[in-house]
Amino acid sequence: MDFAFTKEELDFRREIEAFVKEVLPPDWDEWAVYWPGSYGTMPQLEAEFQEISRRFSRMLGEKGWLGIGWPKEYGGQGSAMKAAISGDVLSYYRFPAGGVATTIAGPTLILVGSEELKKEFLPGIASGEIGFWLGYSEPNAGSDLVSLKTTAVDDGDAFIVNGQKIWSSGAHVTEYGWVIAKTDMDAPAHKSATLMIIPNDTPGVTIKPIINICGNHSFNEVFFDDVRVPKRYVVGEVNKGFYNVMLALQFERMSVGSGGFRRVLEELVRFARETERDGRPLSEDPRVRKALAAIAVEIEVFLTFYWQSAWMQDRGQVPELEASALKLVFTELSVKLADTAMDLLGPFGLLDKGSKRAPFGGRVGMGYLDAISGPIGAGTSEIQKTILATRGLGLPRKK
């Protein structure tokens, strides 16, 4: 048992940290929108940060760090631990990069994609040139993929796709949809859907913005109107879409920004030390000390899960349940951290981006709103718990 990084891991950590410090604008912290563990404030999904985030993605690509967790034969280093280190550092600095392409599409293509698809997409993903968005959820079925309504009808060498997706993060700033659609209208739900790649510029694709409660445009509705998708864009086997999405969901649930939690904690500690109330620093108030200690313990727990998951992947284990546990823990932690931060800042925490006197550029108020999104996105906390109870602990499913 060893909770320390190896020398190689430490060196890598320092290298990526040095890179980040070098390339980030010195005043980045003042305008970076980001709350850890949430889905509504990722700078790389904001239109205003597109130029910088694309440039940074390509820089990470040049370094070979986007696909660092991939097998060596695909240009990676086969190290989930290094990918985790990279994720930790980037998140700590609120680095505007990363997304579905590297965390979901790439790994899934490597496992189940055709050689043709791999050749077409992996290089662009690894170099940071192309981005993906997820087309899973539909308006009347959040996590309930069984109720899928979007259809893909066989038309020779292509599928004709019709329907609607929702909550598609970043569809407006990426190039390809990673979409599940129903291909067999008669088969039982779990054997009827297919995963496919749909380029945004295919005729019949319409993307409409959804503004979230933080005021950001991160989500979209996407409409398909007789969209012709070549069959070579099918990912994995036809009608095996559910299994492939489940596989991809694990990657999604593992792709967590850990460093952001450490960062916010450091900022709150600094705030407590530097802010006076009734003539003495907040940091001397035992209630404040206890609250910050309590959140620090939960952050530490989460970090052990985070590193453990990477370690497991590097041992070739499939972290299905760990992915659910990790997703549950980090999104609930996001809420607890937002509550703690808000309580610490008090009315100053309510001050919004751009307001006079707003500490941390209004990040805490925004985080309080954004923290709502963690436990409800990408499979709610309730769904994760049900997965853990039934698949993990073997409790009987509801009749």
Binding site: G40, S137, N140, A141, G142, S143, D144, V146, S147, I166, W167, I210, I211, N212, I213, G215, F219, E276, R277, D278, G279, R287, V335, D339, M342, D343, G346, P347, F348, G349, L350, L351, D352, K353, G354, S355, K356, R357, A358, G362, G365, M366, Y368, L369, I372, S373, P375, I376, G377, T380, S381, E382
Partner: protein, 377 residues
């Protein structure tokens, strides 16, 4: 004991609910949020015409003379409908110190204007320390011949942008005992040296920084006894805190209503989500939380109306509304999930305001501390 509202209060409750449903739909709330003052003169005028501004003012000042409890009943309905504007600022923060400590001339000069809807008031109290205890107040009032000079910065002054008069609590001498040494001044907002800067909040209310730069005021500006303003200020603070708590109860009720309706109709995994035990238990808790908070708020409002010491009841109501309001809207978001996370949905309007209410007029720690003192700790 009697847990029922009286007939007048029930009529007020129903008529307020009807009026606000019609005049203050969410589209209007959103439009008002986009104004800098976060208030609609038109809506304000209509509310004044219904007698709301003077509801608890004595009849000789154009009011109706009802109890503070009636105000709480009205505020619960305003919270249910998110009625924006400087209502608490004017009727409670502004009027209560005048009622408690003003001279007859001062009352006559201001209160009828409030009752008619012509005057908007507010109170400048907290400072950079964010505390609402006297010991945290440093803005100074220095006597200079017959007049006073005010210097310093007040924060989180609600509705100062729309206010005509700002009451300002200033330290006029060192505290000999807790609460002493503070004097209350009435300042017109456009008085030379007064600068109002809006602070932008996630609650989209109008919180302001009010800077006093060598503001010179005549002796007629002093409200109540010099150095002994605290009892009148505290009377206002307590009523504002309970009034805000009543709004939170309304917000909790609205959240519950919205969420229950959605849980009945939204189908996932082949059944209404309201049939899932996790959702049922969330909502049962939300209901019980709301009922209990409502009881504490009504109890505090009743106690304030009796004129007896109400520190214990006020603090308990405020702190519970603060915490439970946040919990209710947070849980509401779990049930609405994605759709509730969008700007076009109404739930976040409540979520924003419940967290702001937790910090309004002092945070939970400070009200827990007041409860502790009431317990004899």
């Amino acid at each position: 004991m009697d847990f029922d509202l009286n007939e007048e209060q029930k009529i007020l409750q129903r008529s307020a609910a009807d009026f606000l449903k019609k005049e203050c739909p969410k589209e209007r709330v959103r439009r008002i949020e986009e104004t800098e003052e976060k208030y609609s003169p038109d809506l304000w005028r209509k509310m004044a015409d219904l007698g709301w501004m003077g509801l608890h003012l004595p009849e000789q000042y154009g009011g109706t003379g009802w109890s503070f409890l009636s105000m709480a009943v009205l505020l619960e309905e305003m919270g249910y409908n998110i009625c924006p504007g400087p209502f608490i600022s004017t009727t409670l923060l502004g009027c209560v110190p005048l009622l408690h400590a003003g001279t007859e001339d001062q009352k006559q000069a201001i209160l009828p204007g409030v009752a008619s809807g012509d005057l908007i008031l507010t109170l400048a109290l907290a400072e950079s320390d964010r505390g609402y205890e006297p010991s945290t107040l440093k803005v100074s009032g220095v006597r200079s011949d017959e007049s006073w000079v005010i210097d310093g910065v007040k924060l989180f002054v609600p509705d100062a942008l729309s206010a005509d008069h700002i009451l300002c609590v200033a330290r006029t001498s060192a505290a000999s005992e807790p609460g002493a040494g503070l004097t209350l001044f009435r300042v017109e907002k456009d008085h030379p040296g007064v600068t109002v800067t809006p602070l932008k909040t996630i609650a989209r209310d109008n919180q302001c920084e009010v800077a006093f730069d060598h503001v010179r005021l005549g002796p007629e500006s002093v409200i109540g006894p010099v150095d002994e303003a605290w009892p009148a200020v505290k009377a206002a603070l307590d009523r504002a805190a309970v009034g805000r708590a009543a709004e939170v109860v309304g917000a909790m009720r609205a959240t519950l209503d919205m969420t229950v309706a959605y849980a009945k109709e939204r189908v996932q995994f082949g059944r209404p989500i309201g049939s899932f035990q996790a959702i049922q238990h969330y909502l049962a808790d939300m209901w019980v939380d709301m009922l209990g908070t409502r009881n504490l708020v009504l109890q505090a409002a009743w106690k304030l109306s009796t004129g007896e010491p109400a520190d214990r009841e006020v603090s308990m109501a405020k702190v519970r509304a603060g915490r439970m309001g946040r919990k209710a809207t947070t849980v509401g978001h779990r049930i609405f999930a994605g759709i509730g996370f969008t700007m076009e949905h109404d739930l976040h309007l409540y979520h924003r305001r419940t967290v702001a209410a937790d910090f309004a007029f002092g945070d939970s720690d400070s009200y827990h501390e007041r409860v502790a003192r009431a317990l004899g700790l």
